[in-house]
């Protein structure tokens, strides 16, 4: 009986899967067009999956192996099952291979089941709870029905009751694995995920590359919509990306806004986008909700607004404004979904069309438009802090090796200390540098993260025009936000520069033997990775090398490097200021406290400001430039007491 039933079951499941796939593709195609190389993408997909994706998944060894066993076993078993049971090619090794594959898959599914016994809060429940059972049903039933095929058991083994029961289990397994894959079950992630990898909007991310700059809006064409109003305003491959989400909740676990109790959960946001794409309510969502926002009150459809001007739609505006754009979710996402892009796309619509940037947002944007700096200071007073430093200004010198980009920290009394320190270091190393002085404007970072693409482009274009007048080798800045924008986002508007963060540049100067440090005498030090330096630009080592050169042994925080927790100062979050249960910088200073460090080295004016704003902090906050400037000894003295030890140390890590 099974011999006749199985092919029917398999091919009807496959047929349904194909219909489902077609429907799913239609859902994605509601999005705006986005040109991607289809064939090249498909060809690159296996490598992207096996290498890049598993690089992320592999951060959790057990889950990685579980997934390899389950997914590998399933793919193999599915293909062989079609051959063996569907087409009746049971000869020889194929049947045995199918047995092995389903056995592997069964072992994997046992691990999945174990994980689901006491699942961590970040995992979604609901249909995902039945997945291990479905996996087991599929693998076990395939194993059993293959046993007679290879002749281990007689073909007419067991009674018809057993056969019916087995057929029922096979149907369940096939239903979940084939039908569910394209009709919206948990296995959807495999189908959408594979295609998402093939047609990813940032193909540069694969093969060890890095792509973090936001993509520009074409403002010259009045037909291009300004950001995303409805789910169908996303590009089709963004929608595809949302559909690939496995709801593993790794993003939720690292999201600083979620931890602070602000109404944002990256996983829920992506699921809401899927709800919007298919139409309906979020009532079926089975993971952690946005803090303090019950599930089931929001609903959307592909052509309805995501954020309502009044009342509720798919997502509340404050959810979008809670994001610090720290990119921790993107870094952590095993499906390589681009949460930050989506959030900024939606913010763009809120700012450019609704004119609804919350709290101080509107004021900051007005200031940027009127005075080219977010604080609304007189642009002519940008260099007042350096009145006594006699800095060479580009307008006078026309060319220099290094163009020192000061950033808006030039108006901030705290950051002026950092800038002074940095200038002392540059002078100590005899660097030929110059500043733009009053010709410098805000880089446009805040405007862009607040969704005001128009102001960003206006600032960027004027900055590029200014920069094009002068000759310099490289730009050095102590502001990672300016650094990121200059390096990664000006290119699209025609400004390509070699940009260095000051920590990288100081490390380079030290290695070249142009800086000499007195040995460190202070206490325990930890280092806080700025998001825009670390995750956005992959610079984790240079600041640590500089600290090492100073003779400091960094006591790392539990979350450091690519997992560093945001200070809460990015993405205009301090400006939009969405209330939560606690403050993000307070949590970060708790991280610092846990290391027992007396001093936190930072490399970002935003981080400095946010962390220094913490009341009753246990550690002092110093910029790397300040630490370096304090330890600086003139070359003549340095020769008298060689600090060879430190120099060797840095060589080791550099190699």
């Amino acid at each position: 009986m099974l011999e006749t039933l199985l092919p029917i079951l398999i091919f009807s499941a496959l047929g349904l899967a194909v219909i489902g796939a077609w429907r799913r593709i239609r859902l994605w195609r509601q999005g705006r067009p986005s040109p991607v190389p289809i064939l090249k993408g498909l060809a690159a997909m296996p490598r992207r999956y096996l290498v890049d994706l598993h690089h992320v998944v592999g951060r959790d060894k057990v889950m990685s192996n579980t997934h390899v066993a389950t997914a590998g076993g399933f793919v193999l078993a599915a293909v062989l099952m079609i051959l063996v049971h569907g087409l009746g090619l049971a000869q020889g090794v194929l049947g045995w291979a199918l047995l092995v594959a389903s056995a592997i898959m069964f072992v994997g599914s046992l691990f999945v089941a174990r994980r689901r016994r006491n699942p961590p809060a970040r995992l979604s429940k609901g249909p995902w709870m039945r997945l291990p059972k479905s996996l087991m049903a599929f693998s076990l039933s395939v194993f059993l029905i293959t046993l007679p095929t290879v002749g281990v058991l007689p073909a007419d083994f067991g009674s018809w009751i057993l056969a019916v029961a087995l057929a029922a289990v096979v149907t369940w397994g096939l239903g979940e694995m084939f039908f569910g894959m394209t009709w919206g079950g948990p296995m959807k992630h495999a189908f959408a995920g594979a295609l998402h990898l093939a047609f990813h909007r940032r193909a540069e991310r694969f093969g060890g590359g890095r792509s973090t700059g936001l993509k520009a809006l074409n403002l010259d064409d009045p037909k291009v919509s300004l950001g995303v109003e409805t789910p169908s305003d996303f590009t089709w491959n963004q929608l595809l990306g949302f559909d690939a989400c496995v709801q593993c909740g790794r993003c939720e676990a690292v999201c600083p806004a979620f931890a602070a109790g602000q109404p944002l959960n990256p996983k829920k946001l992506i699921q809401d986008m899927v709800v919007g794409m298919t139409g309906g309510s979020d009532a079926n969502y089975a993971g952690s909700p946005y803090p303090d926002k019950p599930v089931g009150e929001h609903h959307g459809d592909p052509h309805g607004p995501i954020v309502a001007r009044e009342g509720k739609a798919l997502v509340d505006a404050e959810t979008l404004w809670s994001c610090t754009t720290c990119r921790a979710c993107v870094e952590e996402c095993p499906m390589m979904i681009e949460h930050v892009d989506a959030i900024v796309d939606m913010r763009r619509f809120l700012t450019l069309e609704h004119g609804n940037t919350p709290n101080k947002g509107a004021e900051v944007l007005d200031n940027l438009i009127a005075t080219d700096n977010p604080g609304g200071f007189e642009p002519g007073s940008r260099m007042h802090w350096a009145a006594d430093l006699n800095l060479p200004v580009m307008r006078d010198v026309k060319q220099a090796d290094v163009l020192l980009w000061l950033g808006d920290g030039a108006f901030d009394m705290r950051n002026q200390r950092t800038l002074r320190a940095l200038i002392k270091v540059l002078r100590g190393a005899g660097v030929d540098f110059a500043v733009l002085g009053n010709e410098e404007r805000d880089s446009g970072d805040v405007a862009r993260r607040l969704g005001d693409e128009a102001t960003f482009q206006s600032l960027a274009k004027r900055n590029i025009a200014t920069l094009s007048q002068y000759r310099f080798q490289r730009i050095v800045t102590c502001d990672p936000h300016s650094f990121h924008v200059l390096k990664n986002e000006y290119g699209e508007l025609g400004g390509n520069y070699e940009v260095f963060h000051h920590s990288t540049y100081i490390a380079e100067l030290y290695e070249a033997g142009r800086l000499h440090f007195a040995p460190w005498k202070g206490g325990k030090v930890t280092y806080h990775d700025p998001c825009y330096l670390g995750r956005y630009n992959g610079e984790y080592e240079a600041p640590r090398n500089v600290l090492r050169a100073l003779g400091i042994e960094v006591a790392e925080m539990a979350r450091s490097g690519f997992r560093s927790r945001c200070c809460g100062g990015g993405g205009g979050a301090p400006i939009t200021d969405i209330p939560g249960k606690q403050r993000i910088p307070d949590m970060r200073m708790n991280d610092v406290k846990e290391t027992g460090a007396e001093l936190v080295a930072v490399g970002c004016p935003q981080c400095t400001a946010m962390l220094e704003g913490v009341v009753d902090a246990t550690a002092e906050i110093r910029d790397i430039a300040e630490l370096v400037a304090d330890a600086l000894v003139p070359e003549s003295e340095a020769r008298a007491q060689p600090t060879g030890e430190a120099r060797i140390a840095i060589k080791e890590v550099a190699s």
Binding site: P222, T351, L352, E353, G355, N356, A370, T371
Partner: protein, 272 residues
Amino acid sequence: MQPEAQAPDAQARGALEVAVLVSIGRHPLTGRARRADQDARGVELAMSLDKSRITLVHAGVLDEESEGALRGYLGMGFQALTLVEQPPGADVIPALASALSEAKPQLVITGERAEQGEGSGLLPYLLAERLGWPMVSGLANVEKVENGVATLLQALPRGQRRRLQVRLPAIVTVDGAASAARQSAYGPARRGEMRLAEAPAVFDEASNDWTVQAARKRPKRLKIVKAASARDRFKAAAAKAEGGGGQVLSDVTPEQGAEAIYKLLKEEAVLR
């Protein structure tokens, strides 16, 4: 006084016709053209009115700079703005008066004074005089409009308010205490339409004789001491400014501290 120019019969038709006169502002630090702060507050006030139909009117030059500023008003959520084109140096009052007497709004809202040019704040008064409408200055809010009578809240210093009633049509100006203007969004600003209107230009001849320069810092008034002896005058001139650290009461009982605070509050007359 003069008879009213027109009977307030328009409210019978339902929507309240509101015209907001908007000007090109000038940022106090950079001098860049922008929405004028008070005019934008006026637009916000108009938008807060129930069932109002708002027309934005500007009289002046249309060039790149002014267009950017005017689009700032459109970005608050308007489809169009009426622009009465006037050459540079023109006296815009006749043009605006004719535009308003044609449009016959019930309520005309504008800022107290322009951020550039003479900025005398006379325009609403001259328009009111010309049209024979009542004029109320320094509003914080319009509470309601009923039966051709508007109930207004005038801003007094220190957050105080005065309630006034005025018969429409009327011209009102907006104080800095009125709610701040909403954000100007790029999209509507870009799409908004400039409806050009023609009006004969009358040149402002008088201002040709003026010399205008950037504002000088006004000298600080010196305390003039009428003293008999040179010594006293010298002492007064050389006296250090008061202040330089206040009084610090430590080791006092809470009651003593409260007493000292109470005395200061009394002196400053903030206790009622």
